[in-house]
Structures are given as C-alpha cells and as structure tokens.
Amino acid sequence: MDTDDDDLCTCMQGMAAGDAAFLFMFHERFATKLTWIVRDMVKSMGRLDIATDPDEIDGLVIDACEVIFERAAGWRSGGALPWNWASRAIRSRVAAGIGHRLVEFDDQHDGDDTISHAPILEAGGVEGEASSRAAGAADLTLDTDPLVAEIAALVRADPRAGLLDRAMRAVGGERNRRICWQYGIQKALGDPSPAVTVGHMFDLEPGNIRQIFRRHRAKVLELVRSDDAFEQLREISWFAA
C-alpha cells in the first residue's frame, strides 16, 4: 500500500467513527482529486461559469468531502474509491449547491447568473442599463423585480448603496449579487435565519447561501480596499479595517 492508500484508509476509518478531524485530513489530502471530479460534474450540468470559478469549485469540493464524511461508515476498503462510490450523492449535493435542477433544464425559468440587462441604481433612481456576466436571457424590470425596488429605496436613503451595488457587480455574477443583497436585507430586517429565508428564494441550501455571501463579500471587501473608486464605502462599518 502506498502513502495515499494509507492516508485514505486512515481518513475513512476516522470519519466512519464520526471524528471530524479526519474530515479535515481527508480534505487536505484529497481535495485535488475531488476538484477534478466536481469540476467535471459542474461542466456536465452546463455551468461553465461556475466550473471556471476557483472559489465556487473550492466550496463545492468541501461539500463533496462532507458528503463522503456523512457516508463513510458504509465504505469498505478494496472496493471503489470513496469519491466514485459516493458519486451520485456528491452529484446531488453539487447540483443543490449551484441551484441546478436534476431534471431536464427549462430555460424559460432559469434565474441564476442569467441577467443580461439589469439597471444600475444610482442616487435618484435608475440610470441606464449595464450587462453583467450573462448566461441566458431573463429580463427584469422595475415593475417585476422587487429586489430592484428595494435597492432603489436604499439608494434614496443612502447614495452609497448604489456604489455598493457597483462593487458587487464588479466582482461576481448576477445570482451571487442578488443573494448577497437579499441576505443583507434579511439580516437588516432582523430575520433570525436569513440563510433559510434566502435559501427558499433561490432554491439553495442555507449553508450554500452563507458560503456564497461570505465569498462574495470577501471579494467586495478586497475591491473596496484596493480601488479608490470605492473609497466612500471604506467608512461603512462593514468594510472598516
């Protein structure tokens, strides 16, 4: 047995006993292998935008590790490798993580990362249009999208909200921008479980919502701190050093 086999058996035995330290070990040792598998799954679901986003793939690899941890007691050495043995469960979790329906895709109702024309909101209302990373043809207007109305209200209260919206658009796709706004709005409204509420909106698990929010926020934070065009946002406590 080589070192990888030894490590694999050690990890699987530890995880089978419910010891989460071995989940950490499993991820450290085998994330590279899982990255290829997860990326292939995502590509097969038609999500090249996610397949080429290292942060998204890293998050999905962690989800895949958790799937194997939860099932480790059922694995036997000498059989299929864990990521092959649990491939259906992993695929199901990946699909849930990217909001992919495991039935025939219906492009009339695709809502994530498909906004090609969404108004940029400035102080005083809507000015013009902008294109974000587009993967479809969903069309939103102020009349039909409550989020646009909510952001417009925030901009009227504080013009920096429009600048924040620009920053959010600059670092990621439309779906993640909408998730971040909804999560922030729910928290501001005092929702005790914002990830659950927003998860229902986007048909995603609460853990995925928290992860998307955390990652998108980190990208926005880096942009705000490095680009003087967003200097006004640095005084907001959310971004204060």
Binding site: G14, D19, A20, A21, L23, F24, E28, R210, E222
Partner: protein
C-alpha cells in the same frame, strides 16, 4: 509571526474550518470556530485523540473540550500553535475575527452561533 492573509490568498483550509465550525454550531457548541481550529490541528497530523494529545503534551480531556467547541479562541492550548502555523491556507486572524464578530453580534462571515458578549 502569523502572516495576515488577504481574501485572495485564503486557501481551502479556512473554508474547511468554517464548515467544521458550522457543524459544531449546529450541535450547540458555544465556541464553534475555536473548536474547528482545534480539530484542524489534529486533522493536519492525522492522529487520533490519544496519540495527538501525547505528541503535543496536553491532556486528552483538554483536547476533547477544545475540539467540542467548549473553549474560547484565545484560550486554545498554546501547544497547537506550531501545528496551525504549518497548515497552508489557514487564515487564523480571519477566523479569530469571525469568532469575535459572532460573539459581539455583528455580521459573522461563517458562524452566527457563538455566545454573545453579554455572556462572556
């Protein structure tokens, strides 16, 4: 000295700690992020509790308590430091800040289940 990492430098180890922290939080641990970090240290060496405790020179009971998220971040056994510094991509300062934010009720980047400041 711990090198401060920018978001673009953060590796998977931090995100894995955040997952472990969420799982501990779901179990009601008062200090889930600290517990996750303690688990990461042992996971990095791939040892069971008895062997790991013997290697670093701490009591198994102290280790168990830390890994269960019962010990605040700042009171984790110092004997874990050299191991944690060896883990690639582990943003300890970011995790410590998240643990602090969760306790103070501000927006937490991962776990929102740490005890509030009033309980400290």
């Amino acid at each position: 000295m711990v090198r401060r990492m920018t978001p673009s430098m953060r590796g998977d180890a931090t995100a894995m700690c955040e997952l472990l922290g969420r799982r501990l939080a779901d179990q009601g641990a008062p200090h889930p992020i600290a517990g996750a970090v303690a688990l990461a240290a042992r996971g990095h060496l791939g040892l069971d509790r008895e062997d790991f405790a013997g290697l670093v020179g701490i009591e198994v009971s102290d280790l168990s308590e830390a890994e269960a998220g019962m010990v605040p971040f700042g009171r984790l056994p110092r004997e874990l430091d050299w191991i944690l510094e060896d883990i690639d991509g582990l943003d300890l300062l970011g995790l410590a800040a998240a643990a602090r934010d969760a306790r103070c009720g501000t927006v937490a980047v991962a776990c929102q289940h740490e005890q509030p400041c009033s309980d400290a």
